[in-house]
């Protein structure tokens, strides 16, 4: 067994939660995001497809799924970034007996809004949504979605039949969008009691009817709370934006080398800015031309620009999966991604320049980033070091950012 390291993030630090096929790693840096410490691996040997950090009400509770092909899938938590964690006697996320199905994996853990501090959601395989309203102690199946008449026609994608994306509306607590592969996007307007497919305009390349009501293989949906009814969507083939709360979708694949891909993340402050990592075709599923390029739009998809400085542009046959692209909330925002080849890259300047943070990991299947907002501040640095870094421009808290003021 490998040795397990621990990190102790403080307020003002940034943490990366890196879920791999062989366990969870927790990376920590100060706000400069240049030097990283690595904690983990936690739950060694188990795929970790989902992770989240709950910082509401002063918590710093780490959640992650632990899938064991032998012993099933369990939801773990830790209040000290993995040093100690729960070993739940019974699994908390389970289908009810009358459902007739059994949990295969947890693909997404979504922390609810700040004004619902005990609400969390899990998206699972087979495709279903679970909710907890007691801080993750107990979970219940969202029956309105599970009983949807379309469910019998949802089919597995390459990774399994999973509900992988959960996007609560920024202001309306009864609205939420989820996405599944395959099945597409579904929206509730009544707190989960009823759901409607919301895929109008999204292409299903693999279906006889290219624009069906449902059945699309949506890989990721993101949004920025500043524009609560605008969403961006990375499809199995296709890039889309909706400005009407997902009622309709418009193709925005303007100038990208491939509109196939898995990952997508919204800029934390600018609602016109989104990042993707194009992948060449669903046959090949590697970065086009052997170039590892993050693409960014700053005009809501009217055009995209490649971000390559610091990323390999030769022989980089990489695959970046759907939950492996993340952003922190500092200003300038940090952007991060993990590859199936076990590398983690990061940018502390919104994608302008990149650094290889860590390599040699097992295949990366999820990356989450967060600025630590609770707890004690990092200890003061030695004087000499402080002097050395004096000229460096420190990252500003998001609340003071230009973009935040503009909002």
């Amino acid at each position: 067994m490998p040795s397990v390291n621990h990190v102790s993030p403080h307020r003002g630090d940034v943490v990366l939660l890196v879920g791999t096929m062989k366990g969870l790693f927790v990376l920590r840096s100060d706000a400069k995001r240049k030097r990283w410490e690595t904690g983990g691996p936690y739950t060694i040997g188990s795929p970790v497809y989902a992770a989240a950090l709950d910082q509401r009400q002063g918590r710093h509770r780490l959640w992650w799924s632990q899938q064991s092909f032998r012993w099933g899938t369990v939801l773990n938590s830790s209040d000290d970034f993995g040093q100690t964690s729960t070993q739940p006697e019974t699994y908390s996320v389970k289908f009810p007996a009358e459902s007739g199905v059994a949990l295969k994996n947890i693909w997404q853990i979504c922390v609810g809004p700040d004004d619902q501090p005990d609400t969390l959601y899990c998206g699972v395989e087979p495709s279903a949504l679970f909710a907890s309203h007691d801080g993750g102690t107990t979970w219940s199946l969202v029956q309105g979605l599970f009983n949807h008449p379309h469910r019998a026609q949802w089919t597995p994608g390459g990774g399994g039949m999973c509900l992988h994306t959960i996007v609560p509306h920024a202001t309306d607590r009864k609205k939420m969008i989820v996405a599944m592969s395959t099945g597409g996007a579904y929206r509730t307007l009544d707190g989960g009691a009823t759901w409607e497919a919301r895929n109008q305009g999204v292409r299903a390349e693999f279906m006889p009817d290219k624009y069906p009501e449902f059945g699309q293989c949506v890989h990721k949906i993101v949004h920025n709370p500043a524009k609560p009814d605008r969403y961006f969507l990375q499809n199995h083939w296709g890039l889309y934006r909706s400005d009407d709360g997902a009622d309709s979708w418009t193709d925005i694949a303007n100038g990208v080398p491939s509109d196939f891909g898995f990952s997508m993340v919204a800029h934390p402050h600018d609602p016109d800015t989104v990042y993707i990592i194009p992948i060449e075709s669903d046959e090949y599923r590697c970065t086009p031309e052997g170039k590892l390029r993050v693409y960014r739009t700053r005009n809501a998809g009217a055009s995209w620009e490649p971000l390559t400085r610091g990323l390999p542009q030769k022989n980089a046959l990489e695959t970046i999966l759907r939950d492996c692209l993340a952003a922190d909330t500092l200003d300038p925002a940090g952007i991060y991604f993990g590859t199936r080849s076990g590398k983690v890259y990061g940018s502390a300047d919104e994608g302008k320049t990149w650094q290889l943070i860590l390599e040699g990991l097992p295949p990366v299947v999820c990356v989450k980033a967060a600025a630590v907002t609770s707890g004690e501040k990092s200890p003061s640095r030695p004087k000499a070091r402080a002097a050395k870094t004096k000229s460096a421009k420190p990252a500003k808290p998001a609340a003071q950012s230009k973009q935040a003021r503009r909002r």
Binding site: W71, E89, T90, K94, A97, V101, A102
Partner: protein, 93 residues
């Protein structure tokens, strides 16, 4: 007559740090023996069977040398003084 479960090392921590659990009584079937095992060691249940009560795909249960998959599943009879082995399957990646 009692039955004895042999517990794999990974799960021993959920069985009082023991690789063997002996249960009194005379369960007729594997299902009955497992029900008694859950009462003694409740944390084992979700790890060995799914929420539908089915033995997980990559877990094998033997009564003596006989895999219940090739016998009568959870209805496989349990003879007196039986030893029931819970064994992780040779699978994975």
């Amino acid at each position: 007559m009692p039955v004895t479960f042999r517990i794999p090392s990974y799960l021993a921590g959920f069985a009082g740090n023991s690789n063997a659990v002996s249960l009194p009584g005379s369960p007729v079937t594997v299902q009955g023996a497992l029900t008694a095992l859950w009462e003694r060691c409740p944390a084992l249940r979700d790890r060995i069977v799914d929420e539908q009560g089915q033995v997980r795909q990559h877990v094998n249960i033997f009564v003596g040398n006989e895999s219940i998959r090739f016998a009568n599943g959870l209805e496989t009879p349990v003879p007196d003084d039986a030893e029931i082995l819970i064994v992780p399957a040779v699978s994975g990646g």
